[in-house]
C-alpha cells in the first residue's frame, strides 16, 4: 500500500506511461518513463534522503486527504487500491496542488516529497550517474543529458560560438567591470 501510494504521488509530479496494462499507481498521463520508473520510491527510501522514517505517516495522511477529497467531490473510490491511487490523475493533481500550496499546514512534508520525486527524474540521485545513464535512466534520457568521456568525466571541447555577439556596455571599466 505504501509503495503504491508513493508511486501515485511521484507519478503526479512527473507522470509516465503505465508499466503494464494493469498498472494502477501510474496513471499513464504521459508517454515514456516518469518519476516512478526513474526510481522515486527508491530515492525516498534511501537513508541519505532522510525522509524514509516519515513515509508511513505521509502515506496515511495522503490517503486520508484522498478520502476527504473524494467525499468533497462526491467521488466513489475503488477499495481495491489505496484511496489516493483510486483517484483519477486530474484529481490526484488537484489534491497535490492543494497540499503544496503556500499556507497549507503540512506543506513542508509534501514539498519534500515533490522535491525528491522530481530529483529522481532529473538526476536519478539514488544511483551513480554513470550507472543511471548506462541503465537508460528515463529522466536523463528525456533531458538528452550527454554521455561523459571514457573516464566518466564530462568535457566539451566545442563550447563557444567564438565571436563577439553583442556590444559591450559603453561604461565598462578597463578591468572589465561595471562602472
Amino acid at each position: 500500500m505504501r509503495t503504491m501510494t508513493l508511486e501515485a504521488f511521484a507519478d503526479t509530479i512527473v507522470p509516465g506511461a503505465k508499466r503494464s496494462p494493469d498498472d494502477r499507481a501510474v496513471a499513464g498521463a504521459s508517454e515514456g518513463g516518469g518519476a516512478v520508473v526513474a526510481g522515486a520510491v527508491d530515492l525516498l527510501e534511501t537513508p541519505a534522503a532522510g525522509v524514509a522514517e516519515g513515509l508511513d505517516s505521509l502515506t496515511q495522511m495522503l490517503n486520508g486527504h484522498a478520502r476527504d477529497y473524494a467525499a468533497e467531490h462526491g467521488l466513489e473510490l475503488d477499495e481495491d487500491v489505496p484511496p489516493f491511487v483510486a483517484l483519477a490523475f486530474e484529481h490526484r493533481t488537484a489534491l497535490v496542488a492543494r497540499l503544496v500550496a503556500p499556507g497549507h499546514p503540512e506543506k513542508d512534508g509534501w514539498v519534500a516529497l515533490t522535491l525528491f520525486s522530481n530529483m529522481a527524474f532529473d538526476t536519478g540521485a539514488h544511483m551513480h550517474t554513470l550507472d543511471a545513464i548506462a541503465a537508460g535512466h528515463p529522466g536523463l534520457k528525456a533531458m538528452k543529458f550527454s554521455k561523459p568521456d571514457a573516464d566518466g568525466l564530462w568535457r566539451f571541447p566545442a563550447f563557444t560560438y567564438g565571436r563577439p555577439l553583442a556590444r559591450k556596455h559603453p561604461d565598462t571599466t578597463p578591468s572589465g567591470n561595471p562602472a
Binding site: V14, P15, A29, S30, T46, P47, A48, A49, G50, V51, T93, V96, A97, V100, A101, P102, V111, A112, T114, L115, N118, M119, F121, D122, T123, A125, H126, M127, H128, T129, G139, A142, M143, K144, F145, G152, L153, W154, R155, F156, P157, A158, F159, T160, Y161, G162, R163, P164, L165, A166, R167, K168, H169, P170, D171, T173, S175, G176, N177, P178
Partner: protein, 553 residues
Amino acid sequence: MTSTESTDVLIVGSGFGGAIAAYHLAAGGAKVTVLERGPWLEGKDFEHDYLLGSSYTRIFDFVVGNGMSLLGGNCVGGGSVVYFAAMPRAPRFIFERKGSIGRRMWPGAINRDTLDPWYDKVSEALPVTQQDWDQVSYSGGLFGAACNHAGRTANPVPVAIDTKLCTNCNWMMAGCKFDAKRSLLLNYLPAAIANGAEIRPMHEVQKLVRTADGGYRVSYNVIHDVDYRVSVGSGEIEAKIVILAAGAGATPVILQRSEDTLGKMPHAVGRYFSGNGERLNTAIIDEDKARDLLGLSREDDLSYAANQIGKGPTVASWDNLDGSLPEFSRFCLEQLYFPPGFGTILAQTPDALPGTPTWFGAEKKKIVEKWQSWLTIFSMTEDDNEGVFGTPPPTGNSIRISQQMLGRGPITYNPTENTLFGWRQADAAVKEIMEKDGLSKVMPWTNDVVGAYTVHPLASCRIGDDPETSALDDRHELRGHPGIFVTDGAAVPGALTVNPALTIAALAERAMPGIVQALQARGVNVKYGAPSPDGETSGRRGVKNLLPDLVHD
C-alpha cells in the same frame, strides 16, 4: 580535568571571510585555528555524480526557510568551492544605497574608489581575469546575441577561472575536478597552512562565551563524516580574537545562540538579511529562431541545444545598472547554468492552462524534455533587506532533514513592495529580451515551493555607521563585543546587483589591518603586510596609502 586548548585567533568558517583572515594573520605571526563545519575535499575528490553522498551533497548547504531558501558552501574553502566564479565589482551607485533606513547603508569610509584597491588585491590573489567572447559558452553567447537583438549591450563577465584548464563540464557546484576554478583551495588556504594556520574540518561552532581575560571560549561539535545530523564529539577552544565567517546564513545564528552568555546583541544581528535580490527565469529557446534571428550555429547543424555545456555564468547585461535610476529599479541580468536537481523543479511551464499546475505534472514534463534548449537568466536586483532570523535551531544553522545538504532553517523573508517592484522590472526586461520575435518562451521560477531563492545570502550581520541598523562598525567589529569580528557575506550591507564574492573578499582584505591591530593590543606579536598568496606585491602597494584609516588611533 581536561585542559582547554587556546589560540590567538579562532576563525569560524573557511570561505572568503575565513580564508583571507587565516592567511594574513598566520603570515603576520599569529597562531590561527580555523573551524570548518564541512569536509575537506580537493580536486581529486570532486565527482561528476548526482548520487546523494557524492561531493555535491557533501559540500553544499541548502536551507529552506519561510519565504526564502539559501544555498551556500559547506566545506573547506566555503562558497569558493561550490560557486560559479563570476567576479564583477559592485557598481558605484551601490555604495550610495539607502534601502529603507533613510540614510546611507554603507559606512562613510567605503565607496567604489576606496574599495577598488582591495578589489585589485583580491583580483591579483585568486586571480580574476577578463574573458573574451571566444571563452564564452554557447549559453552566454546566445544570451549576448539575444541582448544585441533587443538593442541592449552585453559583457563577458570577469571570472576566477583558468580557462586553459577548464573543460566546460558545468559541474562547478560539485567542486572543480580540473582545478580550473580558482577557489580558495588554490591560493589563500594553502598559503595560510604554509604559514602555520591549522584548519579542522567537520567542526561546527555552536556558541561563544566571554572569558575572564577578555577573550572568548568557543564550543563546537564534531560532525559525522557522512550523516551530518549526527555529532560524534565536542570541544572548546579559547582565543583572544574570534572571527566569524560562517556565511550570512550561519554567522547570525551563532551569535543569537550565544546571546545568553555574551550579553545583548546589536539589534542588526539576524536582521536586514538580503537575498541579493535574486530571481531566476527559464527561457525555452526555439532552436530555429536562434538560427534565423540571431545567426547562431554550432557543430552537427545545431543552433543552440547546449544548456549542459559551459562554466556557469559567462555573459551579463548591465544596461539597467544605471545610477541615475531610482533605487529598487536597478539590476543586472546574467546568463546562468543551474544544474538539475535544484534547477528543474522550480521552472514553470509557460503554456500551463489556467487552474493547472505550472511547476509539476504532464505539461511541466514536456518542458523538462527540452532541457538542452533551456537558457537560465539570473536577475540580481536591489532587495529591501527584509530577512529576519528567528529562534536558532539546537545546533548548526538548520534542522537537518537529509544526511547532507537539505535542512529547515529559521529565516523568514516576506518581500516588500520595493523588492517585488525590482523583481517585476527584471522579469519584464528578461521577457522583452528573450521573447522578442518569438526567440523563446520565458517564465520566472516559482516562489511558491521553497520561497524565493538565493545563492548569495548577505547582510545578516552588517557593517555600517548607524548602531541601530548595523551590527558591525566599519572595521567589522561586533558592536559592544570587542574582539569579535565578522568578515563574511553577513557583513555586506545589502544587495549588490552583481555576484557578491569579490566584494565579500575585498571587504575581508580591508578588515585585516584593523584585526591585526586588535591582536597587537592583546599582546600578540603580529604584523600586517603579507604579499599575495603567490608572492605578488602590486596589490599590497595599492592599498598602502589606505592603511592609516583602517586602524584605531
